[in-house]
Every structure is written in structure tokens, then in C-alpha cells.
């Protein structure tokens, strides 16, 4: 068995069912993908503080190892950043594992609890210890989550994490954030984005860089590495991953799980699926990037709020459907524009004013009293 790259006969690793690599070439390749994504984009400065967000899953395990390797180099390739590690605590099982993982490399870990989201301010937690939170916060957080349908909940948690990452980055004096999303997760995320009306936010949610926040940039250095490579990397380096991942709820309950199952099964039969989706994602941009005018931002996901320019959009069409389904029967023409405002307050609350289309759609579905009040009230 010959390695595709170096022709040595010790190839042990098979990628994409056909490409053979030896262990060294494979690891070098993964490392290269990680480094080149950072290098190509020339965003990081020297000695910047970077908040590394770890979930404890496979992606974050490999991210931690890659960063450690890059820091311990002794040549010009050394990664010149100061890493600060953060884990958002959702359950106490995982957090012990992540602390253990970090201590193996001699890194400190900050691990605040995710329920911090319900209050508008947080403090820097004590390193390497379980978060101290009062039960009221946790209860409020759980109540909020339980009031949501699975699709909304999934989307909302993504935004909660993003908000908290940025909040702690500011507290810990970091300008940049690294997250461990792989091509596989990003391909799924692109389709999810489309399915919930976030088409205009694809570049920020799926691209290499999320620059929606004015101060903090979120970077996805693992975006060219696939799940297959992750698994092989973990195996060949004998890394320990926390296997006890919270079991996913019933498979077909949220759009996210349906899409994720769809992508992985399509990938089985058409091995180019994920890379094609990601290439598509790379070509989708932000609306009016060059437009320097300050627009309002969605208070939940920080995307730019801009009313639709088209004469008619799916948003209008949905409002109309609602109007004609509720309005008393008359044959006279309806003053659509006037009624639209009334209807929108129920089916699209705060649309284009404080919330984007997708967040507004979600907000309408949530029992609104459960959302922490500071979110809608602050700003404006």
C-alpha cells in the first residue's frame, strides 16, 4: 500500500474510500489545512489574545491538539498567539472531561455556565473549576428552553453561545475567537440557514470569518477539515474524546437534525456532496458589503437589518396569507400596506426594527415572556 504523497509503502489511512496516506503525510495534511486557513486570511496579528472555544467534542479535541502543536513549534512556523480557553458548561459531565483535556497540555480553562445568558452581565469565572451559578438562573434558562420547539431551540442555542463567546472574549481581553466547526458541520449549517430564512447571513454563519460584532471577530480555522479526517486524526494520535455525548433527541424533530441526517446520508453515496455545498457557501456574500452606512443590528444574532428592496418578498406574501385568512369576507379591495403593519406585529414581531426575519419568526413562536427582557429592551 503506497502513500499517495510520499510513495512510502506504509500507507495505513484511507480517505474518501480511495486515497491512501501514511500516518505522517496525513497528519501533516490536516495540520496544513488548519494553518493555511489562518495564514491565507491574514487577520490575526502577532501575540494577539485568542479565545479558543471548546465543546469537548471531536472538533474541539482536535482544535486543542492542533493549537498546542502549532504553539510548541520552535521555528518560523510557530503560531504566535496567546490562547485563552473557554468552555460553556451545559452539563457537569462534559466539563470535567474538558478540564482534564486542557490540563494534559497544561492549559487553564474558563468554564462559565450557559445560563449566564439570561442576565445581561457576567464576570470572569475562576479557572479550572466548576461554574458557580445560582439555581434561579438555571431554572429561568431551562424554562426559556423548554418553551421552544426543537427547531427554534436549536437555532436559539447557537445564538446564545455566540453571544456568550463574544461577551467572555471582551471580558478576557481577546479580539479573536476560534471555534472548531468542520466542513461537515458547516455544510449542514448552510442548509439550516437557508431553511430558517437566514440566507442573507450565510457568509457570517458559515464562512471563515464572522465579523458581525464590531470588536470581536469569530474565526473558523477548521473549516477545511472534514469529520472523516477528524476521526482519523483522533485515532492516529490516540486522543481521548468524551464519548458520552448527550444523546440527540428523537431524530426527526427539528430541521437541524433532519438536515444533518440528510447531508451525511447523501455524503455516503455522493462523496463530493459536502465539498460542493461548502464551495457554494464560499460564493455567497453579505448584502452590500461595501455599504458603510451603519444599519441597525438584530438584537439576537447581530445581523444587519434592512427592509426588503424587492417589490414583493416571501415576507410580504406570508403577511398577506395571514391577512386574508383572518379578515372578514368582503369583495372590496384591501388596503394591504396598512393591514400589513398590524399583522406583522403578531406574526413578525420587531421585524427589520430589532429582529431579523429568522429571529422574528422564532420570536413569534416562543412564549415571549420567557426571553430575558434585557435582550429586546437594550439598544434603541
Amino acid at each position: 500500500m503506497k502513500c499517495k504523497k510520499c510513495n512510502s509503502s506504509s500507507a495505513l489511512i484511507i480517505l474518501r474510500k480511495k486515497d491512501l496516506y501514511c500516518r505522517e503525510c496525513f497528519l501533516a495534511n490536516v495540520t496544513h489545512k488548519f494553518r493555511s486557513s489562518i495564514g491565507k486570511n491574514k487577520i490575526l496579528g502577532k501575540a494577539d489574545n485568542v479565545l479558543i472555544c471548546l465543546s469537548g467534542k471531536e472538533g474541539s479535541t482536535v482544535l486543542l491538539d492542533l493549537i498546542n502543536n502549532a504553539l510548541s513549534l520552535d521555528n518560523h512556523k510557530k503560531l504566535r498567539i496567546t490562547p485563552i480557553f473557554l468552555h460553556l458548561c451545559e452539563n457537569y459531565e462534559t466539563i470535567k472531561n474538558v478540564i482534564e483535556q486542557c490540563q494534559k497540555y497544561n492549559y487553564d480553562l474558563y468554564s462559565p455556565h450557559i445560563s449566564e445568558y439570561v442576565q445581561s452581565k457576567s464576570h470572569i469565572p475562576i479557572v479550572n473549576s466548576l461554574p458557580i451559578v445560582n439555581n434561579e438562573l438555571i431554572e429561568e434558562y431551562n424554562n426559556m428552553q423548554n418553551s421552544m420547539l426543537p427547531t427554534v431551540k436549536d437555532d436559539f442555542i447557537t445564538n446564545i453561545k455566540r453571544t456568550l463567546y463574544i461577551r467572555y472574549a471582551k471580558l478576557l481581553n481577546c479580539k479573536y475567537i476560534f471555534t472548531g466547526e468542520t466542513t461537515t458541520t458547516l455544510a449542514t449549517k448552510l442548509l439550516v440557514n437557508l431553511a430558517i430564512g437566514r440566507g442573507s447571513q450565510v457568509q457570517s454563519d458559515v464562512g471563515f470569518l464572522d465579523s458581525r460584532d464590531m470588536e470581536i471577530k469569530i474565526i473558523r480555522p477548521m473549516k477545511d477539515i472534514s469529520e472523516e479526517e477528524l476521526k482519523l486524526y483522533i485515532n492516529s494520535k490516540n486522543l481521548k474524546v468524551n464519548d458520552k455525548q448527550t444523546s440527540k433527541e428523537n431524530e426527526h424533530t427539528s430541521l437541524q437534525t433532519v438536515i444533518s441526517t440528510f447531508v451525511s446520508s447523501l455524503q455516503e453515496n455522493f462523496p463530493s456532496t459536502i465539498s460542493t455545498i461548502c464551495k457554494t457557501a464560499d460564493k455567497i456574500g453579505l448584502q452590500d458589503e461595501c455599504d458603510n452606512e451603519r444599519h441597525n443590528m438584530c438584537v439576537i444574532c447581530q445581523s444587519i437589518l434592512k427592509p426588503d428592496e424587492k417589490a414583493i418578498s416571501a415576507l410580504d406574501a406570508t403577511s398577506i396569507s395571514k391577512i386574508v385568512s383572518l379578515r372578514k369576507h368582503t369583495d372590496s379591495a384591501i388596503d394591504v400596506d396598512m393591514e400589513k403593519n398590524v399583522i406583522n406585529s403578531t406574526i413578525f414581531p420587531y421585524i427589520h426594527n430589532r429582529l431579523c426575519y429568522a429571529c422574528s419568526r422564532n420570536y413569534a413562536e416562543i412564549k415571549q415572556s420567557k426571553i430575558p427582557s434585557y435582550i429586546i429592551e437594550t439598544q434603541k
Binding site: A195, R327, K328
Partner: protein, 433 residues
């Protein structure tokens, strides 16, 4: 417990609208359905007063409902449109011949002129003949490419201002997903536009863009419109099947996702540095193309030269294949010439000519054979979509419609058989994964 209509008209609701979840009575549903389309037409400025509009009619539910609604709205709101039906006969025995009968029925019912163009007349080939050449795989490429151009040609002949097509919201959402999966950024960009067509071409409009397929099925059912609901006898478009299956699964979880996907497509923008193919006119046939020679011409060339795979796959390979073909032909010709020079009279040349023309004749004979094999088909057969939709969205305890009860008993029995066909066809889709 009968549910009252949400619009407060006093009647009992007969269905729950898939798009908004509101329960509504039959009359209010008709009104709501039509008013929404009216709003789409006026707000989207799809037509101008006095325009001639060709409705692309296949005989299926979407185009039947489109023709019916446009006629209704044209009279109700005084659009002043001159509506006509335009159908394309692909020459698919057992499918299109039957559905064209439905279109003819529409022509009589809606009193609109009907123009039918056939692939045979336009291109010299029917789909039956093409499938005989290319096989069951890839034949949808021919059919789709040819149909697109055939509609343009038909619209030019009818001298209309625009073509209205029956694409519904589900179709568009599905296309968005499919274009992402295929990485087709150019199509992704234009597939959600309500009006498409570059300068110098006849624009196409989609008045049903925001109308859910389920509501179209129910509208046709309650209005008792005649439509044709058999799937094409040739292999269904496999790749679209994946996108369709995904969309159906998602719709079950969150019905609004169809609108959300369309909204995503509408608000998405393509990075400036991405180069997109520019639309221009084909140098051979003068219809829209993104290449020097349009796909229809390439496919046709392939068929006529006996290289049916010519237009399948990469367009960069077309030239190479054609060159090879030409050198082969040249070799043949020089060989023939050599023979001529050797004074073996015209006999040989005429023979090769004959061979070629024989080939053509044979094909034509086959075609006429096929066409005479018309089978009678029951239009109502296979109407599983309607049944599933009704099953899910029409409200039970429909006590006020006692009269219809006999009918509904009947349909319930039918429904049971059809449930089976449904599961088997869904199963078939699943195999692809």
C-alpha cells in the same frame, strides 16, 4: 365539533391552511387563495394592461389551476389580459398524449386559444425516439433543455408579451436546495426571481410563486378542475428527488420553511468576485444561451450525428468529440474519394448516402409505430398527492356537507389502495440515499 371559519363568515371550516395554520371554509378558501395570487401579480407587477400572455400548460394541477385563476382574476379585476394556452408535445407515449387531452379540455372550459408545439416538428425527434437512443438515464436533460427553448419559440409564434408558468412555492424551495447541493451558483441566484428573462427575450413570470403545492391540490379538488396527474413514464429526475425528499421531511416539521427558504433565496447575494456566465444568444438558433452555441443545438447535433452523449457532461468536451467525429467523417470521405478516383463509379457514394438516409427512415417508422400504440389511461388514477393532502388538511366532522358523504366514502376506499402506492414510491425515493 365543527370548527368555525377563522374569517368569521359563519360557515364551518373545511380545511386548515398549510401555510398559516388557519381553519377556513370552502368559500373563504377560494377567496383567500385567489386574492393572494392577485396580490402577487399586482405587487410584483407581473403584467401590464392589454398584454398577451401565454400560459404554459401541461395539463397538470399547477398549470390548470394557473389558467383557471388567471382567467378568474382577469375578469374580476379587469387586468385586460389576452390569455392563451401554450403546450409542448414532447412525444412521450402514455404520458404527454394523455395530458394534452386534458389541456384541450382546459381550452374548451376556459375559452382560451391553444397552441401545441411538438418536439417532432421543432427538432425532428420525439422523446420516445430520443430515449431509444440515449437510454433511460440522462434523458431528462434533453427534455428539459428542449422544452425551455420550445416555450420561447412558441411564445414568439404567438407574439405574446410574457409566459406565465405554474411553478409553485414548493418547486422554488426545492430548486434552491438542489442548486446548493449541485453548487450551481448562477441558477441559485436567479431561481427565486419572480420574473426571469434577459433583454431581448420573452420574460417568464411565476404567479404561483408563493402558493403552496398543497393548496393548489386542494383548490383544484374543491373547484373540481380537470387535471392530469400521472408521473412521466421515463425515469423521474433523480437528483431533484433528493432535494424534494428533504423538503418534504422539513415541511412536516415546520411548514413555514418553504417560505423561509424562498426568503433566503431572495435575500441572498453572490460575492462580487464570483464570475457568472453571461446570457447571450446562440449563434446557430438565436435563442438564449450561456455559451456560444446553446445546449439545445449541441444536444440536437449529437442526436443527428449519432453521438447522443455529446451534450451530456462537460461542455468543454463537446469540441473534442465533434472534432473526432469530423476527422472520422473526413477519413470516410477521402476514402470514398480515393475509391472514386480508382474509377469505381458513383455506386459507392450513393450507397453511403443511402445508408444514412435509411437510418433516418427507420427511425421515423419506429416513431409512427410508437405513436399508434396509444393507451387509454384513467386520469383519476394515481392521484395519491391529492389524497394525502386532503387526508391531512381537510377537517373532519364535516357535518354540514351531508350531500358529499357518499362521494367521500368512495374516496376513502380509493385512498387506502393509494396509500400503498404512496409508500412504495416513497420507498423508491429513499433507495437513492
Amino acid at each position: 365539533m365543527p370548527v368555525p371559519c377563522k374569517r368569521g363568515c359563519g360557515n364551518n371550516a373545511v380545511l386548515k391552511r398549510p401555510k398559516t395554520g388557519d381553519a377556513i371554509c370552502k368559500e373563504c378558501f377560494f377567496w383567500a387563495f385567489e386574492t393572494e395570487i392577485h396580490y402577487t401579480i399586482t405587487k410584483g407587477k407581473l403584467f401590464n394592461k392589454g398584454d398577451s400572455v401565454a400560459v404554459a400548460a401541461s395539463g397538470g394541477k399547477d398549470s390548470t389551476v394557473l389558467a383557471h385563476t388567471l382567467k378568474t382574476l382577469n375578469e374580476r379585476y379587469n387586468y385586460g389580459l389576452n390569455l392563451m394556452l401554450l403546450s409542448i408535445d414532447e412525444g412521450i407515449t402514455g404520458y404527454r398524449d394523455d395530458s394534452l387531452e386534458t389541456v384541450k379540455q382546459n381550452r374548451d372550459d376556459y375559452e382560451m386559444p391553444l397552441k401545441i408545439l411538438s418536439y417532432k416538428d421543432l427538432y425532428g425527434w420525439t422523446m420516445d425516439e430520443i430515449v431509444a437512443q440515449i437510454g433511460r438515464k440522462n434523458n431528462c436533460t434533453f427534455c428539459g433543455v428542449f422544452r425551455r427553448q420550445a416555450l420561447d419559440r412558441g411564445a414568439a409564434m404567438l407574439n405574446v408579451k410574457c409566459i406565465a408558468t405554474g411553478h409553485n412555492a414548493d418547486d422554488i424551495a426545492e430548486t434552491v436546495l438542489m442548486n446548493v447541493l449541485r453548487g450551481d451558483i448562477a441558477r441559485l441566484k436567479r431561481c427565486t426571481a419572480i420574473t426571469t428573462g434577459s433583454e431581448g427575450t420573452i420574460p417568464r413570470v411565476k404567479p404561483l410563486k408563493y402558493t403552496y403545492e398543497k393548496e393548489i391540490v386542494m383548490y383544484a379538488h374543491y373547484k373540481k378542475l380537470v387535471y392530469f396527474s400521472t408521473e412521466c413514464v421515463f425515469a423521474p429526475n433523480a437528483y431533484r428527488g433528493h432535494a424534494r425528499a428533504l423538503l418534504k421531511d422539513m415541511e412536516k416539521i415546520r411548514p413555514s420553511c418553504i417560505m423561509d427558504i424562498i426568503y433566503s433565496g431572495e435575500t441572498m447575494s453572490i460575492k462580487e468576485e464570483v464570475s457568472l456566465p453571461t446570457q447571450r444568444l446562440c449563434i446557430r438558433c438565436n435563442f438564449v444561451s450561456s455559451q456560444e452555441v446553446c445546449k439545445a443545438c449541441v444536444l440536437l447535433e449529437g442526436l443527428n450525428k449519432g453521438l447522443p452523449k455529446l451534450g451530456i457532461g462537460k461542455s468543454s468536451k463537446v469540441k473534442k468529440l465533434l472534432d473526432e467525429y469530423n476527422t472520422r467523417q473526413n477519413n470516410l470521405e477521402t476514402a470514398v474519394k480515393d475509391l472514386e478516383d480508382c474509377n469505381i463509379t458513383d455506386k459507392k457514394t450513393s450507397k453511403t448516402c443511402k445508408n444514412i438516409s435509411n437510418g433516418f427512415k427507420q427511425k421515423e417508422c419506429n416513431a409512427t409505430n410508437c405513436c399508434t400504440n396509444k393507451t387509454e389511461r384513467n386520469v383519476e388514477k394515481n392521484n395519491e398527492k391529492l389524497q394525502t393532502v386532503l387526508d391531512k388538511y381537510s377537517l373532519e366532522n364535516n357535518s354540514q356537507v351531508k350531500l358529499d358523504e357518499e362521494d367521500s366514502d368512495d374516496s376513502e376506499i380509493k385512498h387506502q389502495d393509494e396509500d400503498d402506492t404512496c409508500s412504495s414510491s416513497c420507498g423508491r425515493l429513499g433507495v437513492g440515499f
